[in-house]
Structures are given as C-alpha cells and as structure tokens.
Amino acid sequence: MSHGALEEAHYRFPPSSAYALNHCLYAIKSDRAFAERYLADSDAAVAEMRLSEGERTDLRRMDRDALVARGAHPYLVFMAGLRLKMLAEPGSLEYF
C-alpha cells in the first residue's frame, strides 16, 4: 500500500491534530444534551472544546469539505449534521 493510496482514501486515519474537532463532532452526534446546547448557542457549547478559530467557523457553517480537510472524520461530519437536523426539525421525519 503506497502512502499516496492512503491519502486518497475516502476514510482516512484521523490525525491527532483534529482530535478536538472530532471529539466535538462526536459529542454533537452522540450526546443529546450537548447537541441541544449546541443548537441553542453553538459558540457557548464549543467554548470548552479547544477548537481553533478556523475550526469553529467551519463547524458553524457545517462546511463538510473544509472540516474533512482539517482531519474531521467524514462520517462524524455527516451524522453530526443529521442529528442536528433531527433535533431541529423533528416534524419533517417519518418514524417507523
């Protein structure tokens, strides 16, 4: 396996430089109380998360490509976004 092939993979080794960012996405995805705080006031919710200003900006916009370029795991970006939508617009969903 070449280094190049790894770099081109859709799902890559999560760099430790993006640990705080991935942890924040994980909290949005898996911690409902945190996701509710995030919806109410995203800046306050992420204040303790040690994110860079750029990470906060990309997160606020849920800018998938920018977040992934920073080392965010694509699945965490995807599901964090979906969970926020589920919380914000529960009436738009059909439950089975």
């Binding site: 859709h10 599901m79 439950y95």
Partner: protein, 265 residues
C-alpha cells in the same frame, strides 16, 4: 449450531425517513426485512449473533478495537427518539470470546459499551417474536486502519466453527452495506454496478472471493461496511445467497440477503 445467516442494510433513513428519501423504496426494503423476520420465526433460533460496525458510538478515539464482543446481561443505546435495551446471550458471548482468543483472535470484550444503531436498525425490523437474546459482534469499519478483509474472513471461519459446535440454535446476521459514502463528495454517487456484481458472485456461492479484496478497494467502492458481510461469509462457506432485495437509493445500495445454511431441523 448455525441455523440461519442473513445480511441486512441498516441505513438510518430506513428507521427515520427524511423527505429526501423515496418512501416506496423504504417500504420495499421493510418488506424484505419482514421476510427475514418470518424466516427467523420459522428457523426458531435461540439467539441472534449480529455482526456490525460501530459508527464511532461505542468506541471513539480513546480505544479503537478491530474486533470486539459484547459480553454481559444486556446492552443499550439510543438513536434519535429510540431508546433500546436488548438482552445478551451471555453464555454464548463468553464462549465466543474465550474460544476466539484460544484460536488466536485477540478479541476485545466489553460489558459496558453503548450499542450503535448499526445493531439496532436491523433488529428493529427483523427481531422474531418472541424476542431472542443477541450477541453483538463488532468489526471496525469506519476508523482506519480497519482489519483486512482476509482477517475478517478468517475470523468468520473461526466464528462459524465455534457456533456450529454450540448447543444453541444461532442465527447470524451481518448488518450494513452496500455501497455508500457518507460524509464525502461521493455521497450521491455510490457504486451500484459493483454491488450488483458482488451479489451475482454471492448468489453463485463465490463468497470466499471477497476474502481477497483489498481494504483500498472496499474504500474506493463505498463498501467499507462489507467487512461485516465478509466475516459472515467466512462462517457460511460456499452457501449460495438468496437476494431478497437490492434497492439503490440516491445515496445507498440497500440489500437484504439470506444464505441458507444446512439443515435447520
């Protein structure tokens, strides 16, 4: 003994449907899953062993196991408004850990990890009545480096041998697949033709060929979750797949498949 083997899609839009999803397609997948439920009721398993890939729910970056077994009395999780709690068949779970390690597979076990929706979504639809206890079997699919397809297949072979030697009637269910690329720029363009080629091979009983695909190929084809299927294929050998459905949505190849495995009597 092993009395049944199935693969079932688990995309969350099958459980919670946003307006973006074709309702008729979702209902067709539900119908295929209902066939699995009826089949399970006919096969009368004592326990369902479910192979799934955690979606960074039970295991975050504090510890990333390649292969894990949930051992304990019960397991629980949440997804949106769903709160689920399922009994674990502890004697079988413990036997799988002990015998798997004895056979050279360095399994992680947990008695306290959240159960991801990858386990729950199929069970929501296919759990026979009355409900059976489960054994959740985790294969890392989302956090690279994942176990190789060859390793998954070898673990599945060992798992099949362990299950066949047990007194319980066990149905094996692989959760996940087929092609999809969540969170990437390929989300709206999965590799449906690749999926169809795989299903043809599986219907011809050529499942062991999947042990030779590379991790890079699975990633390229949106099929990293097929590691759960490949694990199951190690257990079912050359059984021919009966494809209940293949329903490609705009972002996901939804498949429901059975491998008839031997005499269930």
């Amino acid at each position: 003994m092993l009395v049944g083997a199935f693969a079932v899609a688990h995309t969350p839009q099958l459980l919670i449907r946003p307006e973006t999803e074709d309702r008729a397609l979702v209902l067709r997948v539900h119908a295929a899953m209902r066939r699995v439920k009826e089949r399970l009721e006919a096969l009368r398993p004592d326990v369902l062993a479910v192979i799934a890939g955690d979606h960074v729910e039970a295991f975050f970056l504090d510890a990333v196991p390649a292969l894990a077994v949930y051992v304990g009395r019960e397991c629980a999780g949440t997804f949106g408004p769903y709160r689920y709690r399922l009994d674990i068949h502890e004697p079988l779970a413990r036997a799988i850990v002990e015998q798997g390690i004895e056979r050279g597979f360095d399994l992680l076990y947990t008695q306290d990890a959240k159960l991801d929706y990858a386990f729950y979504v199929p069970l929501h639809f296919v759990m026979p009545e009355p409900a059976r206890p489960i054994v959740p079997l985790h294969v890392n699919v989302y956090l690279p480096p994942q176990p190789t397809p060859a390793r998954c297949h070898a673990w599945g072979q060992a798992l099949g041998e362990i299950l066949r030697a047990r007194p319980e009637r066990v149905a094996l269910i692989a959760s996940g697949g087929m092609s999809h690329f969540p969170g990437t720029d390929r989300y709206a363009s999965p590799e449906f033709e690749y999926d169809r080629g795989l299903l043809e091979a599986l219907a011809e009983g050529r499942g062991r060929e999947l042990a030779r695909v590379t991790g890079e190929e699975l990633d390229k084809r949106g099929n990293i979750e097929l590691r759960t299927w490949i694990t199951l294929l190690g257990a079912v050998g050359d059984a021919r797949a009966d494809v209940y459905c293949y329903e490609p949505s705009w972002h996901h190849g939804n498949a429901v498949v059975e491998w008839p495995v031997g005499d269930p009597a």
